[in-house]
Symmetry: C2
Subunit: 570 residues, 2 copies
Amino acid sequence: MLSDIEISRQHTCQPISQIASELGINPDELSLHGANKAKVSLAVTNRLANNKNAKLVIVTAVTPTPFGEGKTVTTIGLTQALNHNGHKTCACIRQPSMGPVFGTKGGAAGGGYAQVVPMEELNLHLTGDIHAVSSAHNLAAAALDARLFHETRLGAAAFTEQSGLAALNIDADNILWRRVVDHNERSLRQIKVGYGSFNGPIHGSGFDITAASELMAILALSRDLQDLRSRIGRLVLALNHQGEPITAEDLGVAGAMTVIMADAIEPTLMQTLSGDPCLIHAGPFANIAHGNSSIIADSIAAKLADFVVTEAGFGSDMGFEKFSNIKVRESGYTPSAAVVVVTLKALKANSGIESEQDINQPDSERLTAGFANLEWHINNVSQYGVPVVVAINRFPTDTDAELEWLIERIGQTKAFGCEISEAFAKGAEGAAKLADMVYRATEVGSEFKLLYQTADSLESKLMTLAEVGYGAASVSLSDKAKSQLAWLNEHNYGNLPICVAKTPMSISHDPDIKGIPTGFDLPITELRLNAGAGFVTALVGQVMTMPGLGLTPGYLNIDINDNGEIVGLA
Amino acid sequence: MLSDIEISRQHTCQPISQIASELGINPDELSLHGANKAKVSLAVTNRLANNKNAKLVIVTAVTPTPFGEGKTVTTIGLTQALNHNGHKTCACIRQPSMGPVFGTKGGAAGGGYAQVVPMEELNLHLTGDIHAVSSAHNLAAAALDARLFHETRLGAAAFTEQSGLAALNIDADNILWRRVVDHNERSLRQIKVGYGSFNGPIHGSGFDITAASELMAILALSRDLQDLRSRIGRLVLALNHQGEPITAEDLGVAGAMTVIMADAIEPTLMQTLSGDPCLIHAGPFANIAHGNSSIIADSIAAKLADFVVTEAGFGSDMGFEKFSNIKVRESGYTPSAAVVVVTLKALKANSGIESEQDINQPDSERLTAGFANLEWHINNVSQYGVPVVVAINRFPTDTDAELEWLIERIGQTKAFGCEISEAFAKGAEGAAKLADMVYRATEVGSEFKLLYQTADSLESKLMTLAEVGYGAASVSLSDKAKSQLAWLNEHNYGNLPICVAKTPMSISHDPDIKGIPTGFDLPITELRLNAGAGFVTALVGQVMTMPGLGLTPGYLNIDINDNGEIVGLA
């Protein structure tokens, strides 16, 4: 089979203006960025406000493994197949980060014959939204440090006299706003800034990957430009020497940050290999942020199509939980069905059984043990009142016997049904049966419900997430988290929803506990306020907000050839 | 008079596809980015290879002052007026950096009725080229530090065994590649990276503004994508423990960096307020890099128009010298005329005479003394064999008496002629006489000559630049510069041209010496190899490669209004 980029390059895309026109976007609502990408105006939702919303399908997965489960392949394949089956469908996915593209994971356009094309345009700059987030984020960091510098060198009184601005009295040891870059930059995780004769004071800082920026979460959760502006104003950047929050509004930088992100508010339209529309927008990671693409993209697609297919990062304990309790709570746009993606390999890897045997070979012991993980995710999604369809993403090495066993076992669960998907190898036709099953699931009617109410106390919300969300027996807070909890309650931030930052590699906080962890205590190490995004982030165990490059990173293979074409992008 | 952004917003732009069509660009050579911007393919120059090159006009200025001389206003106004006078003309300018936009300088689109529009699209992301430069630059930094990390933790032998790659033995104390961000970030000038338990080794680093990146210079000097690829491969990122250079090719990251910059190779077409074409591309600063927009943009414009107007940063000792000895040397595209921009205010400020009097008031003593600075720049440009036209950029407070005195004095110099320009207040018509004078100057015929030959030794080239370029009596090298000189000669880099990094605020290295400095010694503090850009940078005195935000930065005024429009961008 050809590589992803070969398939993408050999394909002749339709003009993106034609894709837009077929979807029902007016020419004056479209801003072309080359032949294959276009920004879509939020004016669409106003024009079509009276249209009924499309049925929303959310794609999630079992606990992820290093082998890749094919969630984006399934999201794109399902979109291709729903259109193939005669249902007008639009996919909504997140923009890929360049960190993984040049690191180890490679691109994030789907793969095989279920791809967004041209894949190199999706995987690299797209229409510049991630760059805009980085730039706005780092302007706030520069502004904060410049203010600290001037107030420190002049003293508060002289600063106010010379600048006409009130002194903020920033506590250099309580700067909450870090910096961002869209690369895997281990050496910038913890840095010290302000060295030199006139650049200080020296203090700690560090860089996160841009997908971890609170601005990325804000972009994904905002309803429009004015909402974006308000949220940016509420960002808490630092504490002053009295322990009170200093916001982007206080610093006077919220307007300029919004201006930098003004174009980023519009989703980007691209197409699948079958010419189906795909809106790409935002990209907060699901382990450290809320892990879902934007409310704006979904709301535009909802007015234009009959079905919207979107995906949530990592397993259902991660992205899907946040999709429900953060994104849907904010948007009110509830899903009609959920798809849980699974592979035979993923079940074996989730079995918790050590084995020397090639994971591509039949292994009923590991398969049976790993099945529990799938059942947990089916039950987890079901408790939100949404019908569950299991998509078995087939690999060439899969045996019919193991697939048949799996289908039979899924039949004994709460799942509405399951189908094998061969979207990777066969595109739309490979997912036609899955699309039919998903369609039937959306006809059943869902009764979506949230896990908790925002009016509940932060302690109660944490307990609910731990026990009902992950199956923990108890929750414990570090001393730091306890004092942060008190501060949050004092400052009236107790009514925000919770965004849990934890490893995605286990339902628990410990990546080594596979299958269905039970009876464990969930250790909350830190509670971080994200007043702009509108949630409190609970850090569980050790969570990394900046990846690193491995021994043989993906960039080693990437180059241009003699024709100036990109090669080696996986 | 309306503000720049008000003038820009009230203006109805022509579709950029129409501007392109009138210029002679085929639809398949154009990639739209919204309604007002389009990338132009390098295919134009191949298709029109047999066309005669347009006549090239280079706009420079007297020694700059804090008041602004209006070089971009004159460049754009002259372009508008040449077209107005019936000469098919295209402007070529650099992309503005967001640092000054949110710092103090404001935008860089020209001003008044001589602007590139929409000015906010030019001043913010444009089509993402600066973001691409930042991203490619910082990928190299991440790759270098990741390699250092893995080689350090494993040791060379185990590293090679596990990765299959030869160890580079990077000397952490000799990392030459810093990082970049397109903001004024004082606190990142000198930092230490690699803190934390598993992120090291700890070592020094720092950020420059993106315009100071060697990649920005490379973008401006490359002929095409393959040339870009070769130059990136030659970048020297660090030395190994034996003092030998480690290149981007050695690190295996040159291909991926090129891929990130692949779209940036195409200039962006915009329009002036009169609907004249303007190509925007690259933006190396003129104090720390070579200070000119791209060879590619000039070469495309040269095939499409009869006149190309471009500008060089700061005074003629800075950008124009580098335009000549670096850019024209590389491109072979010689100027037919040069314009030196001057204002009454600039001459008074360059007089070196301290005065309490308002600089807008008549002051014959300061004007007479400051005139010497203009005459120096006329002579400086003349020695390159190019006819010089002086453009007096008129301000509302200028008196007729002082303007008449100035015109008469210019008549006694080597200048071909001079005219008052009122492009700011009146657009094309305000610069019509200037355009006529420039046209006549280009009819004279120039005999362009370079100041030195690359085959000359580095010492000899430095001496020529100091004595002939700035009027210094002598040159002295610091001990550091001496040992760097020896290293460069040893490693066969002696045949590169020189790019001087010095203050632009004086012809000498001392910003406090105004007028015509003479008899001074030029102190070279450092010699830096820029093997990719293809020059050796000589640092003279203290040069800053990262600006800082002032007490009341421009961002304080910038916001969106209730209609979602940008306000406060100057």
